[in-house]
């Protein structure tokens, strides 16, 4: 073997080891959570309300709460994020104002989630008088998710070849028809990836819902969007820190259910992506 090949081998080995190093913590975390929590996950745990100071029973209201919050977040952040990204990429003129908006969007994704929580509390809970409610929590999580959704959508739109737009326009399509038929269909996989990533993060956040929606203990299901709900990440925080003599396996089981929920969302997006890829024949 010559020197160049040896150097190549060494480089590949290092790259491989680094990749392994990155995957390792994820595998260990999941392994640890499964090992400690799997025993406590049962049908009863998933389908019943907590009892006896949350030390017994299940986490059904928290699961429903998190699902409701994800749906609420999606309802607000998807149209807002995707439409504004379409505007930024396809319509906005390249001037100082547009560049300022783009810069702000990128910077917004770096703001700590607790700041979003405080902002949501001030604006939605107090000023707009929504109270601690599903509406206020969903809006807060939606605002937090927007930067990632906008950025992902922007990149997905920009990756569609310019020639597709040129073909469509040259055939007499209007700009909106071009976007609708010739750009969006090819950017949906990218938009989906970014959206699900962002919603997964929203599902697991505690800080933004702390002041805006989350209930400490509320063993019933919400009746309206102005109700409070329990949510998995906040419930996990509560039972891990606020309740004495809490069996540790219940905390891990709650974490496991949260991971499972996020995994399910990703699964749906993978299936949708595959479906769209198959429909479009590259």
């Amino acid at each position: 073997m010559n020197a160049a090949r040896v150097r190549e081998k060494i480089a590949f080995t290092i790259l491989g080891l680094i990749t392994l190093l990155i995957v390792l913590p994820i595998i260990l975390t999941i392994f640890y959570v499964v090992k400690n929590g799997a025993g406590a996950v049962s049908w009863e745990f998933i389908s019943q309300s907590p009892r006896h100071g949350m030390r017994e029973g299940g986490i059904f209201p928290a699961i429903i709460g998190t699902i409701v919050l994800i749906i609420g977040t999606m309802l607000f952040s998807l149209p807002l994020g995707i439409l504004s990204a379409i505007y930024l990429v396809e319509y906005a003129k390249d001037n100082l104002f547009t560049r300022l908006i783009k810069l702000s969007v990128v910077n917004l994704s770096g703001i700590p989630s607790i700041v979003y929580g405080l902002f949501g509390f001030t604006l939605f809970v107090v000023f707009l008088n929504f109270g601690t409610s599903i509406l206020a929590g969903s809006l807060t999580l939606a605002i937090m998710s927007l930067p990632v959704i906008i950025t992902a959508t922007k990149e997905a739109l920009e990756s569609v070849p310019f020639t597709y737009r040129e073909i469509s326009l040259s055939l007499g399509a209007t700009k909106w028809q071009t976007i609708r038929y010739c750009v969006l269909p090819y950017s949906i996989p990218g938009i989906l990836t970014g959206t699900v990533l962002s919603l997964s993060r929203a599902a697991g956040e505690t800080a933004p819902i702390l002041f805006t929606v989350a209930a400490f203990y509320l063993p019933r299901l919400p009746h309206s969007i102005f109700d409070q709900v329990m949510a998995l990440p906040y419930h996990l925080y509560v039972i891990s820190t606020q309740v004495p003599n809490m069996p540790a396996k219940l905390s891990f089981a709650t974490g496991l259910v949260l991971i499972g929920l996020v995994f399910l969302m990703n699964l749906v997006s993978i299936i949708l992506r595959a479906h769209y890829r198959k429909k479009k024949q590259w």
Binding site: D94, T163, Y164, R165, E166, I167, S168, L169, S170, L171, G172, A173, T174, Q177, Y181, C182, Y186, K280, Q281, W282
Partner: protein, 251 residues
């Protein structure tokens, strides 16, 4: 002659940023003719062509002055999508969309509001027949257009433009990536289309212009040096520069 000019440009100047592409163009295009445009690279041929259906404006740095009159109307007064419906274009490289053959051709009718399925199917069939592609693809219309050969893709592009039912078809070096047999098929299609359409063919291949066009214009550095019946231009050009170019002494 002025009366039956489909397209007329008046003192047309085109520039991209600081770079002038077309200097001062006055040209008239007659109904149902095939006008060949020849000239070396960077002579403004393509810019002239894309000015006619305002495609140049997709480039943000594009500036234009002078008038283009289409069917007696200044094109500034026609909205882009109507203008481009009437003046279709075939690009240099075959550019098909990554959808089926049928969907590619049906794209135009779809955006122009044809909803009826049997009407669409009929339009697709007519367009593919006119572009000499029907026999080759009629059994596999649902196949991805990306899997056709280059020559077939270019004829598919012609069919796609025809399905929009334009009055004028612009060709921007349509055969530059094609083999001689595919080229011959595209040229056959052009001759057949002469009955119903006005066609402008920009080409780097002087022989192609001689074969297909009836009149021919020679562009050089943004100027129209000469426009003449093709026969006259290739046998007895007025300008020395035209003579040099078509006999291959420069360019």
């Amino acid at each position: 002659m002025v009366a039956d000019a489909v397209i007329k440009t008046v003192n047309l100047k085109c520039a991209f940023g600081e770079t002038t592409a077309v200097t001062n163009l006055n040209i008239e295009i007659r109904a149902n003719e095939i006008l060949g445009i020849i000239g070396p690279s960077n002579s403004g041929k393509t810019t002239f062509l894309r000015a006619l259906n305002r495609l140049n404006y997709l480039n943000m740095s594009y500036r234009q002055s002078g008038d283009i009159i289409f069917e007696g109307k200044d094109i500034k007064q026609i909205s882009d999508n109507i203008l481009r419906k009437k003046i279709g274009i075939i690009f240099a490289l075959p550019q098909v969309l990554p959808i089926s053959i049928f969907e590619n051709v049906a794209y135009g009718p779809k955006v122009h509001g044809v909803k009826d399925k049997s009407k669409t199917a009929e339009m697709v069939e007519t367009a593919l027949k006119k572009a000499y592609l029907w026999d080759e693809v009629k059994d596999r219309l649902e196949m991805s257009a990306m899997r056709l050969s280059g020559g077939q893709q270019q004829r598919l592009c012609i069919a796609r433009t025809l399905a929009v039912e334009p009055d004028v078809i612009l060709y921007d070096e349509p055969c530059s990536g094609l083999d001689p047999i595919s080229t011959a098929k595209v040229e056959d299609a052009m001759r057949e289309l002469k009955k119903d359409y006005t066609q402008i063919l920009v080409t780097n291949n002087t022989k192609q212009a001689a074969r297909v066009s009836e009149r021919c214009g020679f562009f050089l550095m943004g100027d129209l040096v000469e426009i003449e019946e093709t026969e006259t231009m290739f046998t007895n050009p007025k300008d020395q520069r035209t003579d040099d170019y078509i006999t291959g002494r420069f360019g």
